[in-house]
Structure formats: C-alpha cells, structure tokens
Subunit: 385 residues, 2 copies
C-alpha cells in the first residue's frame, strides 16, 4: 500500500455568490489547487467531482465533466466522475480519489467539490436538501431535515440531560472561528443569547443552530508520485480515509440520537491511520445542525464531549479544537464543497497558514463529513508525516 | 496489483415497471447478485450505487444509502456511495468499485445501478435526461440530447459518406438480440423500414433510433477475496476498467462526430488488459442513439466498422457480436442501471448462460458505457482467465 499525499489545495470564498456560476466557482477552486501544487492540468490523471444536487439546483448532471470542461482539461480526455453521498459528497469524493490513487491505476488526481444553491429561492433549496432524506417515508410526509434534527435534539435532551444551552455552544464557537477566516460566509461573532433568541427553524432549533445555504467550491490535488510530492512545498499525508452508513430513515434506527455510522467511520479511520484519538489535534466536523455537531463529538470522544462543550474546550486555543475553519455554520455549507473544504482547512492548519485562528503544533487533523442526519459518514485523517 | 473478479450478478427485468419503486428495483437486483455469489450481506465491505438523476426523477438523492437500506445492509454500517456520470453512471460505479478493491482497502464490494424514469411524464423525463448536457450552453437554448444526436448523424453522413440505412442497422440488430433476452424492455423484431418510417424524434432520427425510457436495476458483486472467488460457481476476472472524458458541449469539440473519449478509454482498457482488439469476442456498447452506436464501433474497430455494419457482422452468430443483450435500444435504458447490466450480460455470456443468444466460445467481452454524447466514456474488459 503506497502513501498518498495532498500536494495542493484551493478554495473560493463561501457565501451568496450571485456573480459566479457553478462552473466558474469549480474552475476557480481547481485552478487555485493546481497552482498551489505547482503542477499543470496535464499532470492530472483523473478528476473526482463532488456535488449533491446539481440536477435540481441548476439543471446540471454530469457535473464532473462540466468541471473538467471549464478547468480546461477536457482536451486531455481525463476521466471525470461525480460522487454523491448527500452532504457527505465532498468527503466521499476525497475517499474515492484516495482509493483510486492507492490502487495504483492513477498517480495524481484532482478532487473538486462545488454547489450553487442560491440560484433558487430558499424554500426550494430546503426542499432540494430534503432529497437527502428518505423521499417516500420522510419528505413525502412533510418532514424537513431541520424538523428531524429538532426531534433528535429533543430526544437527546431527554436521553442525556444535555441542555439547550450546551449544544447552542456549537454555532457560537463556529462563528468565533469563522470570524478569523477570510473565506467564511459569515464573519460575525455571536453569543449564546443570539442563538437562543433567533427565530425558530424547527423548535428548539433556531436559524443560528443551522448551517446556511451557500455557494462555493473547494479543490485538492492528491498524489502518490514521488517527484511531485518532493516538489510540493508542503505535502501532507492522508493517513486514512474511510466511510460508514446508517439507515437512511431515522425511524429505522435503534436510537435516533446516536450516530452509529459516525462512531464506526471515525473509529475505523483512527485504526487505519494507526492512531489513538488522543493524537488528533483538530477536529473538523459536520455541524449542519448544532445538535448534530454535539452528537458527532460524543461519538468521537465519548460522553465527555458534553462537559468539554460546556467548558469551552473546543476553541482553537483550547485542548480540543473543533471546526477551527468556522465549520459549516459560519464558513458556509455549499453541500458538495463542504467536505472538500474541511481538507483545505486541514492543509492550512498543518502548514501553519491559518492566520489568527492557527492551532499551535497541530500534527493530525480528523475531518468528518456527513450526509443526511448521520446517514453517510466519511472520515479522513490528514497529518504531518 | 491484485486480481478482481465478478463473483455474482443479478438484474430485474427492464421496462415500464409501474408496480415497482426505485428502492424495490434496487434491492431485487442486489439480492439476486448476493444469492448468485453465494454470500450474505455481511460479507460486503462497501456498496457503490449508480444513479443518474434520482433527485429529479423521484426526489431522492443519497441513493446509495437508500439502496443499502432496502437491501437490509444498513445495520452493518457499510459505506454506500453514489456514483454519477450521466448515463455512464453504471460503468463508472463498476470502475470505482474495481479501484476500491484494487486499493486493498475493501475485499468484496457490491455495485448496484438503478433508475426509475416512468414516474414522470415522458416530456419531463426527456428534460431530465437533458441534465447530462451542458445546461447553460445547450439545454438552455432548447437543445435536447436527441437533437444533438441528429446533428451528429447529419455531420457523420457528410464526413464519411455513411448512409442513413447503415446506422439504422443498429436498432435492427439490437431488437433481434433483445427478442432473445427475457429481461428485455422490448422483445419484438424490427426491420430497417420500421426504423426509417417511424415518427421522427429529431430528423433524421426516429423513435426507433433512440433507446427508450425505462425502469430497472442491475447489480454485481466483485471481490479479491481468494476464498470467495474459489467458492463462486463461475468467477470472471475484470481484466481492466478505465474511463476518459471529452468536452461536455459538442461545440467545444474539434469534430462533433468523433468521440475522442471513447477512442481513449477503449484503447486504454485494452492496454491495461494486455489485449489486442482482435481478442475481444463481444462488444456491449452504448447505443443510446443508433448513430452513437456506429461511431463507437468506428472508434473501437476503425472505419471498417461501417462496412461491417452493412455486412451484418455485428449479429450474435457472426464475426463481431455487438450488443448481444439487446443493447440499450431493446433491452432498455434505465440510465444508472444500463452500464451495470452490460456487465451482467458479459457474465451471462462468459458463463454460457445466455440462452438462444449465446455467443460461442466467448472469452473476452468489452463493455462500454457512455455519459452524454461521448462526454464520459467508461470501458471495462471482463474475461475468462
């Protein structure tokens, strides 16, 4: 099994980018990643494109082919495949690219994630996001992802005694970190009271408990080519990448407020990387909803995570930094791009290029991308060798 | 590099299957493949689901998670990822599964392709199919895939002197073969005159030049596990699997009636398999349109393919059998499933289980799945060792 490195990373700003189309965003991120890797388009053997709902948002399927087209690599006849796993599409594309390079068939592969969500009204966007639920047993009966997340939250309060104020910490932390990230969708700092007093999306969750609807794109270049790795300024090793799934519908699960797939994929990623969880310095997780963020950290660190949330241990300058990028909540959540950006953030942190939000001496970063409410879980561990 | 085998295959009938939902079709095919491999769900390490436009056809994204759910494997937390590459999604899922097993991270993987197209009116289905074109530069201006295929046909007549009657042979051959396949959407035999006199879809192409709108699902189990391969009744080796892409928009290509990606991926598949094209006994290609079928065979066999079409050499009992399954035209074209079914057909032929349409002594079969009009091209070669 050969080693696979991230040799380049790039991203657009995330936000309501009305001036840019899906194709423009994707190619901007892709070209930045290529330049960062110091290579040319003809050095790429394949392209994996992450996109959740291009067909519904902008009438565009075959999105990877489109990305290749606008990045100027179609002439090279490079294979371009789209990966979709709900909002875990970005993480899943990184996983597929990683496996493709591991297999030996390809040496250097581009991973691009993109979503253009603001071309439709937000109620339509929310319906499209519902496409990642079970269409026949959840959405058809009126459930939205936010309403299911709200049920999970109530149940979790009942099961564990966790307080509303506890998981409301997640957006507060995210906005603090996001304020220090220049590509963030939101750069304002918020307080617990702001979260609690904001309008409800689905009680008890307010708009501040939920990640926004964003446009954006991020890209990576990964390689096993010794020469390219040597030439790269700061190559970082993908120590593991893996995934797990749970039942699509909440009602099929034994417990709606436990994420079995998250537990399995994060554990498996640690095992494959040969690391204990204590060796992970930063966690970039999928805070599509505040409560989802908390449950993920519980699956990774155990029940202790509730206390750590209360004690402020998840800030960038504390013991267990979580979502130092600003997370999906503040940095933004253009579905297919979000999981790829998590890896971009890992690269920035591990290179020491994360500016004022830099975590000191980080060597291993776990990135966890989730599709639906714990349905698809993709985890990678990126580190300094 | 370890060897990867197909150890199980299964399919539903293709057609207008109004009694079956997407999830039912997918799980039927998946369970048949598992039974055929003689293994249980818990023997699977990952699932790759091919689906082109579930979000638009049936409001369902995260389709792979849904398939896992209804196949009863969600409890096992197996990673389930959807692959999309327009109508090449099936071939692309097989490619990703192949690479995933090659990488060593997974031993045994399920590949499922499914599409449920008849829940929407056919004009809506055609719009959705247009999603695989360039949304901003083709579909927005009113182009449909059929109208672009018609332009390709006219240009090809002009460039090569090929006659309307020549490429009209493709559906005739397909229906002949499809009539002998019990899972076919259409089992009637047709004549050249039927093709020429049928209503136009886009002149010169008639309804008989174009593959139908179908429902259906197909599945495969692939493995590198020596014990499972040994236990399988008739394992078949995937000698190679690879892909290539061309510009998404026809207007960006140097020539609209040459498929550069097809040329590259089929050539590359032969090289990776260590075979000359003369060693390929059967070709299952992507006859979404008659003209596309002819151009693909030209890219694979050279200009000679035009003469061979005229001389009837593509029949199952002739020198170069093409689409012995009935192809997309007669066996049906449920987008995400079509490419997976091509591999199922290869399995049936190589096992000698193809009934009256059996090709004698077939040892190597090339399957070629295409997204859009030559945009994404995925080729695998499956053979007896």
């Amino acid at each position: 099994m050969r080693d696979v490195y991230i040799i380049g990373a790039g991203t657009t700003k995330f936000g309501e980018l009305w001036d840019s189309s899906l194709r423009e965003l994707a190619s901007e991120a892709g070209l930045k990643a290529l330049m960062d890797a110091g290579i040319y388009a003809e050095d790429i053997d394949a392209l994996y494109g992450a996109n959740t709902s291009g067909g519904q948002f902008v009438d565009q399927e075959q999105v990877a082919a489109l990305i290749a087209d606008y990045s100027g690599i179609s002439e090279l006849n490079i294979p371009s495949i789209r990966i979709e796993a709900g909002s875990a599409s970005g993480g899943a594309a990184l996983l597929q690219a990683f496996l493709a390079v591991k297999s030996g068939q390809y040496e250097t592969v581009a991973v691009g994630g993109v979503e253009k969500m603001t071309d439709v009204p937000s109620e339509v966007a929310n319906e499209i996001i519902g496409g990642s639920l079970d269409a026949e047993w959840e959405t058809f009966f009126g459930a939205t992802e936010a309403s299911l997340a709200a049920m999970v939250a109530k149940r979790h309060e009942y099961d564990t005694g966790v307080k509303r104020e506890d998981y409301a910490q997640f957006p507060v932390i995210a906005h603090k970190h996001g304020s220090m990230n220049e590509t963030s969708h939101f750069r304002n700092v918020i307080k617990i009271e702001d979260v609690l007093k904001a309008p409800f999306v689905s009680e008890p969750l307010t708009v501040f408990d939920t990640a926004p609807i964003s446009d954006g794109a991020s890209a990576l270049i990964i390689s096993a080519d010794k020469k390219k790795i040597k030439n790269a300024e700061h190559p970082l090793r993908i120590k593991s990448s893996t995934a797990a799934n749970d039942f699509l519908s909440l009602h099929d699960r034994k417990s709606i407020d436990r994420f079995g797939a998250v537990r399995k994929s994060t554990k498996s990623a640690l095992e494959l990387a040969g690391l204990e969880v204590g060796k992970v310095d930063v966690f970039e997780i999928h805070d599509s909803y505040s409560i989802a963020g908390l449950i993920q950290m519980e699956e990774i660190l155990g029940k202790e995570a509730i206390r750590m949330t209360r004690d402020g241990e998840f800030y960038y300058n504390s013991s267990h930094p979580v979502n130092v990028s600003g997370g999906l909540k503040a940095h933004g959540n253009p579905l297919g791009a979000s999981g790829v950006y998590q890896a971009v953030e890992a690269v920035l942190q591990l290179r020491g290029n994360a500016g004022t939000r830099q975590v000191k001496n980080a060597e291993n970063i776990m990135i966890h991308n989730m599709g639906g409410l714990g349905t698809t879980s993709v985890t990678s561990i990126i580190g300094v060798d």
